[in-house]
């Protein structure tokens, strides 16, 4: 059977009095792509952020339940820095730092102690190639990343996340700002990446979820309504609400 990378048990999350996640149970399999789908505001981003504890930054947030990475509870006695190195994230809105393209990609490796120029050069090049943006930027690595287009910025952020060589990559709508060609590149990239990494991806595109993911979770109002193999969810959903959403009858 497949190995479980991340296991979520009975997860509840509150922003103040508002419960954004309700009783979530979910297993993310190693070297698979897990897609999270659901209408806007249903808690996909929030859930994704619980997997590398980015919600810790939010004030008044309360989290109950258990999330484990390789069997280890990530909310208990764990070094958050190490956790985030292992579980990387690409955010919904591209957020390159106001520094050069090179420095953006080298930021993570440097934070984890890599100083040698040759090594950094190599990481930067490989990461940018993996994120399908190398050809567009290789001649201007020293230019400010904020000068890139939105789609380029998003791919740069993907490269930046890959540069720390995580085990799990959380991607929050990574292609929502991209044109079809760049989108296709990213989709191909995720296919390649899953050899080495475990991927959790939020997407609003049913086609995308269908094309690239192995498992799919359907979120609605903070609950996971249905979670199973993508093929099954799309061909034979168990819940009426899943079917309605997938066929575009609401959402």
């Amino acid at each position: 059977m497949n190995k479980t990378k991340l296991s979520v048990k009975n997860l509840n999350l509150f922003y103040g009095d508002f419960q954004a996640l309700k009783n979530i149970d979910l297993e993310v399999e190693s070297n698979k792509i897990t897609a999270l789908i659901g209408p806007s505001g249903c808690g996909k981003s929030t859930f994704l952020k619980t997997l590398n504890r980015m919600n810790d930054l939010v004030e008044n947030v309360k989290i109950e339940g258990k999330v484990s990475l390789d069997g280890e509870d990530i909310y208990n006695n764990i070094d958050v820095i190490k956790l985030r190195k292992r579980v990387g994230m690409v955010f919904q809105k591209p957020n390159p730092f106001p520094m050069s393209i090179y420095d953006n990609v080298a930021y993570g490796p440097r934070a984890h102690g890599i100083k040698r120029k040759a090594k950094l050069d190599e990481i930067v090049e490989t990461s940018l190639k993996q994120a399908a943006i190398w050809d567009e930027v290789k001649d201007r690595l020293n230019q400010n990343a904020l000068g890139l287009s939105g789609g380029q910025q998003q791919r740069l952020c993907i490269a930046r996340a890959l540069a720390v060589n995580p085990e799990v990559l959380l991607m929050d709508e990574p292609t929502s700002a991209l044109d079809p060609i760049a989108t296709q590149k990213i989709e191909e990239l995720t296919e390649e990446l899953k050899e080495k990494y475990t991927i959790v991806i939020v997407t609003h595109s049913m086609q995308q979820a269908g094309r690239i993911s192995d498992n799919t979770a359907f979120f609605l109002l903070g609950e996971v309504i249905e979670f199973s193999e993508t093929a099954k969810i799309f061909s034979n959903p168990e819940d009426k609400r899943t079917e309605d959403y997938i066929t575009g009858r609401f959402g």
Partner: protein, 276 residues
Amino acid sequence: MSNRKLKDNLTKILIYAASLLTVGVLAWILIYITINGIGEISLEFLTSAPEGESGGGILPIIINTLYIILLTIVISTPIGVFAAIYLVEYAKPGKIVRIIRFATESLAGIPSIIFGLFGYIFFVTVLNLGWSILSGALTLSIMVLPTMVRTTEESLKAVPDAYREGSLGLGASKLRTIRKVVLPSAIPGIVTGIILSIGRIVGESAAVYFTAGMVSRLAKGFLDSGRTLAVHMYLLAKEGISFEKAFATAFVLVVIILLINFSANKIGASLDKTKV
């Protein structure tokens, strides 16, 4: 003309009049100072020490002024920046933050002569630093601290949270995030704070008069006493020694302020990484 149009035009006229008045007054002051001061300006005035009652120039006083500016900025910038970093990045909203905020706001509202008296009692007398550039700079540091903290705070708050998230999400520590991402983005704002502070330092007479003293020679070091341009001007005018020299000093003061503002703006802009 319809009623509405009339109102529109009236508003416009008022806005123009107000702008014209503001710019006009400023221009008038500058022209007035220039006309009255430029006559006394000469190479000798700029490069020699004051002599006797009203002779000589102001070179040592210019240098004293620069000393005080430099030392005050060196002391107050790190304190102000660290305080602001604490307030914005670390402090949880609550009592401590409210107290600090209250303290900085109160400091900002205190007349400078009170800082002068405090500096005289505390730095000059209790700490026994005497009338000195250091006493003056310490006093002025307290005085400009609210400006430093405020402007830095504002610029830190203006740094998008997405930068912090991006950095922390890569596994960078909070300290590294602040050092490498947040602070660099906040530099233009910090520079603005420094410029505003320099303006206050240069223009301040009361607080300096009581703490750095008023001897007109070049301070031999940070523990020596020396007057600044503003104090010099005040003494020249108050004692009725020489209004021409007072205006000439004023002219030099204005030129120095303009130069500092101009170069600080340039530096700030060149450090602004968010502009491509």
